[in-house]
């Protein structure tokens, strides 16, 4: 019933509008009022000033409310640097935005049609054009140089000897991580060894001795103020490692391992007290569309101080301890198996 009433009211309003429209257009034709610079032109001219002004004040009013949730607190060394570049760039572009838009709308308002206005035939001015080619060029140069400096510092450093390596692997639809264990070396892997049924989700090659102490925890733990090197890969489709608080983002690509090195500066406990939020957690998200569960690939990261981290490390058990049946099995045994099964097929065919 209600929908019918609403529908009827809607139709009625639509009908009224149509009628008004028809009357309006007929009146326009009769009075031939659409010559230049009529009332409509003045209204549009006024709106050219009023609408942007209203927008400006609304944005200024809303900004402090919105800004509370801007860039989450940066807690990595390079994150502080990119943040400062971000705010500098944002200031520069806000100024550009305001100056050019102000010019655009002010001129639109000021030079709206007026009978007999003397229009200046102003077709070019090389000096002026030179200025507004040079000024953006200089600004861009400064931003490029500053950006390149920070980028190089963040992305092009050789990992130091004491770096903490963590392997992050994306799959549909979860992250998994592997630590190198006491020897500090990750064991080899091969995608052909991956087998969810038997439990070797990483495809670790246990013929490699380095793999024997590798462990697979449920959360990432990393020590504060120590460089961490993420070895990133994916085993099905593209994923992307995104740790918003550390300003870390790097795609996970099947068949092409990538990496990202960063240094966390605040422990989880520090962040909790700083933000006054006892439930705060560092998070790892996926930012490359990967299918149905793309929006739900959450993984927790805990930044410990050195003692807590050491304690956590000692609590971790190597993967092989839980699954001793994998010991010594790797590519060689896989090849043997596949040769055997091939021969089986062959003999069957021969028969």
């Amino acid at each position: 019933m209600v929908t019918v009433i609403f529908g009827l009211i809607g139709l009625l309003i639509l009908g009224v509008f149509l009628l008004l429209f028809r009357v309006q257009s007929l009146v326009t034709i009769l009075r031939n009022t659409d010559e230049r610079g009529g009332l409509s032109n003045r209204i549009n001219g006024a709106l050219m000033l009023l609408v942007p002004l209203a927008g400006f004040f609304a944005a200024v009013y809303h900004y402090p409310i919105a800004a509370k949730n801007f860039l989450p607190e940066a807690s990595s060394v390079h994150g502080k640097e990119t943040d400062s570049l971000f705010w500098i760039t944002l200031t520069v572009i806000t100024l550009m935005f305001l100056i050019t838009n102000a010019g655009l709308f002010w001129f639109a308002f000021k030079y709206q049609y007026k009978e007999g206005r003397k229009v200046v035939f102003f077709a070019d001015d090389h000096k002026l054009e030179l200025i507004w080619t040079a000024v953006p060029a200089v600004i861009m140069t400064v931003l490029v140089l500053y950006g390149a400096l920070i980028w190089n510092r963040a992305m092009m450093q050789e990992p130091p000897k004491n770096v903490q390596v963590v392997e992050v692997m994306g799959k549909q639809f979860a992250w998994q991580v592997r630590y190198p264990g006491k020897d500090g070396k990750l064991g080899k892997y091969d995608f052909r060894l991956t087998n969810d049924a038997t439990g070797n989700e990483f495809g670790i090659d246990f013929e490699d001795k380095n793999a024997e102490d590798d462990f697979i925890p449920r959360e990432i733990h990393i020590p504060v103020n120590k460089p961490v090197l993420l070895k990133i890969r994916a085993r099905d489709v593209l994923h992307s490692v995104f740790m918003p608080h550390f300003r870390v983002k790097m795609d996970a690509v099947p068949g092409m391992p990538t990496q990202f090195m960063f240094t966390p500066t605040k422990t989880t406990a520090d962040m909790r007290s700083q933000l006054g939020n006892p439930n705060f957690n560092y998070e790892l998200a996926c930012t490359e569309v990967c299918g149905k569960g793309h929006f739900a690939m959450r993984f927790l990261i805990v930044v410990d101080d050195e003692d807590d981290y050491k304690k956590w490390l000692t609590e971790q058990k190597p993967f092989l301890e839980d699954k001793p049946e994998f010991k010594g099995k790797g590519m060689k045994s896989l090849r043997k198996k596949s040769v055997a099964s091939n021969e089986e097929i062959k003999t069957k065919k021969d028969i």
Binding site: N41, L47, M48, G55, A108, F121, P257, G291
Partner: protein, 630 residues
């Protein structure tokens, strides 16, 4: 025979063509020849426009559906079941995979079908012959094929919406392996096959069109229309066609290799994959290679979409400011600059793909260089308004709106182009906000402005101006309300293509802002009904258009109200001057008001000519007397 512009033999050529044309008028073309398989560029342009607009409404409606999911995650979408069917699950929510399908289709439709075919296809076809003074395109037949390939592409893409496994769902960039493996997402089954076939057809359409545009502009300009006298619209369409011709084949190659990977077991883009409980045989391919190929088209595509809109804006702003476009040469130069640079910046979409970080620095440098010609264009538009005498037609409003959106979306490109900042912002809503303003909305405004401006020439009738004003203000305000706050969400780190933001602590804020954006999107989309009504109504019942309603200088306004096949009933007009002689000093002494059309010779305007123009007359007269003495 059709090379009117070369030398003095032109008169003969024109006559030959006229004769040919007269023959045409003797027999009426049948309905099919006239409206369906037509070779007339104006009808083809209208076909592109109408199909493009239909797609625009469908693409827009899709965005409203997923905006409902994002803005009102608790809301039941049961009422959409009659349209969406099983895309709505038992709990009355949008199916997660279908959310991705909608996002993918929205992107594909808007970028390719609306803003490439609908914009370039419409206005390049309509304006190139009319503004260069040609009877039609170089090849009417190829032009017809171009539309029908687009139509076929549309049919295939539309059909894919009804597949049981859904249409392509891997994002409009269709990165493999997601797009190559049906196990990864159902849309990568038949849906992806349809997508690839549709795009292949679309690329054929766009190449057929592009070759035609280029040939026509180079070879069929009327006498006197040198490149330095071309309207900026034609410059824009010309450069766009060149960019398209050079970049679309690369997408074709990528699509072809992806088809091989999908159905013939090759490994161009696939390697080391374990999915659905088994390891695949693919080894040695590179998923990143696909991204390089895709963005080698994908980035120029941005300018394929944007340049025609900028060209249209240049023409409309100069006309309605009653003032020459400021810095004509700089405008052409910056378009060429943007066109060239657009080919060497593609990898800025790939800063965090694991590409060598040193390459990242190079591409940042090249990317930020593009800001310079773009800034020049913006300044030139603003200066064109300065001390003009502005008439706010709906087309002019949309053009001014375009400049504002172009600036607002452009400046955030400076942030994203900087690779150090892109680490955090890549694939967040900051990117979404950026390209929707600078490429999506700005180009859409250009398209709408073009429709309002050239509607009288297309259909011989005027659109209603007052509806146009209302349409503009709601759309303009609406677009800002949608995309300005979206930057905030991006700065907070909200990732793109997320079905829901409630999984993560860092994206729990801004639920109110997301709701606000969705409401604004609905408002903006609804306002387009005004445009649709105005458009359809005016085709049949609009006021009859005067010959030159905006007081414009270009050649299309010298044709009859509804130009027939061949455009000019008599001889093709000769061009004597550039198209921007608006409000020329002392024009009144020559009997002109505030504009002197391109086909008026300098000899008719002795009072308003500048010194170098008088010299031109003297030279021409010298030539004539030379010939006589021969």
């Amino acid at each position: 025979m059709e090379l009117h512009n070369h030398g003095n033999g032109a008169v003969v050529d024109v006559h030959a063509h006229d004769h040919h044309h007269d023959e045409h008028e003797h027999h009426e073309d049948g309905f099919i020849k006239k409206y369906i398989f037509t070779e007339d560029h104006k009808t083809i342009a209208k076909q592109f426009l109408i199909l493009g607009l239909i797609w625009a409404f469908m693409g827009g409606a899709m965005s409203i559906i997923f905006r409902l999911q994002l803005g009102f995650p608790e809301m039941t979408l049961e009422w959409l079941r009659p349209i969406l069917g099983t895309w709505i699950n038992e709990t009355g929510k949008l199916e997660q995979e279908k959310y991705l399908a909608l996002v993918t289709m929205h992107g594909t439709i808007m970028v390719f079908f609306v803003l490439t075919a609908g914009l370039s296809g419409t206005f390049s076809n309509f304006l190139i012959p009319l503004q260069v003074g040609a009877r039609d395109m170089a090849s009417g037949f190829m032009n017809m094929l171009s539309f029908w390939f687009f139509f076929l592409a549309s049919v295939v893409m539309f059909t894919s919406l009804f597949l049981e496994t859904g249409p392509a769902s891997g994002g409009w960039v269709i990165y493999p392996p997601l797009s190559a493996l049906p196990e990864a997402v159902p849309g990568s089954g038949a849906g992806m096959t349809y997508w690839l076939i549709s795009m292949a057809l679309f690329i054929v359409s766009s190449l057929l069109g592009g070759i035609n545009y280029i040939t026509t502009v180079i070879n069929m300009r009327t006498k006197g229309l040198s490149f330095s006298r071309l309207p900026l619209t034609i410059w824009a369409f010309f450069l766009t066609a060149i960019i398209g011709l050079l970049s679309f084949p690369v997408l074709f190659a990528a699509a072809l290799l992806l088809i091989f990977d999908r159905s013939m077991g090759t490994s161009f883009f696939l390697s080391d994959i374990y999915i659905g409980g088994k390891a695949l045989h693919h080894q040695g391919g590179s998923a990143i290679l696909f991204q390089h190929l895709f963005w080698f088209l994908g980035h120029p595509e941005v300018y394929i979409v944007l340049l025609p809109a900028l060209g249209i804006t240049s023409e409309i702003i100069a006309t309605n400011a009653r003032k020459p476009i400021f810095g004509y040469r700089a405008m052409v130069g910056s378009m060429i600059g943007i066109g060239v640079l657009s080919f060497i910046v593609w990898a800025h979409h790939m800063f965090v793909t694991g590409m060598n970080p040193f390459l990242g620095t190079i591409f940042m440098l090249l990317t930020l260089i593009i800001a310079v010609p773009s800034a020049v264009k913006a300044f030139n538009y603003i200066t064109t308004l300065w001390k003009g005498n502005i008439i706010f037609t709906p087309a002019m409003l949309f053009s001014i709106g375009l400049v504002s959106l172009f600036i607002s979306g452009g400046v955030t490109g400076i942030v994203l182009g900087n690779n150090a900042l892109d680490i955090q912002l890549h694939d967040t809503y900051f990117v979404v906000a950026h390209f929707h303003l600078v490429m999506g909305s700005a180009s859409f405004f250009g398209m709408v402005a073009g429709v309002y401006h050239w509607f009288p020439k297309m259909f011989g009738r005027m659109m209603d101006e007052k509806l146009g004003y209302v349409h503009f203000w709601i759309t303009f305000i609406g677009v800002y309300l949608v995309f300005f706050p979206m930057h905030y969400i991006g700065i907070a780190g909200f990732p793109r293509r997320y079905y829901s933001f409630s999984t993560f602590d860092f994206s729990k804020s801004y639920t109110d802002l997301n709701m606000f954006i969705s409401a604004a999107a609905i408002l903006t989309f609804s306002a387009q009904a005004l445009f649709a009504f105005n458009f359809v109504y005016s085709i049949f019942r609009g006021r009859l258009a005067p010959l030159n309603p905006w007081g414009s200088n270009t050649l299309e306004w010298t044709t009859p109200r509804v130009p027939g096949h061949g455009n000019w009933p008599g001889a093709i007009p000769t061009v004597h001057r550039w198209p921007y002689d608006y409000s020329k000093p002392d024009a009144d002494k020559d009997g002109f008001t505030d504009f002197i059309p391109q086909d008026v010779p300098f000899s008719q305007t002795p009072n308003s000519n500048f010194e170098h123009e008088n010299e031109l007359i003297a030279k021409q007269e010298g030539k004539k007397s030379d010939q006589k003495s021969h």
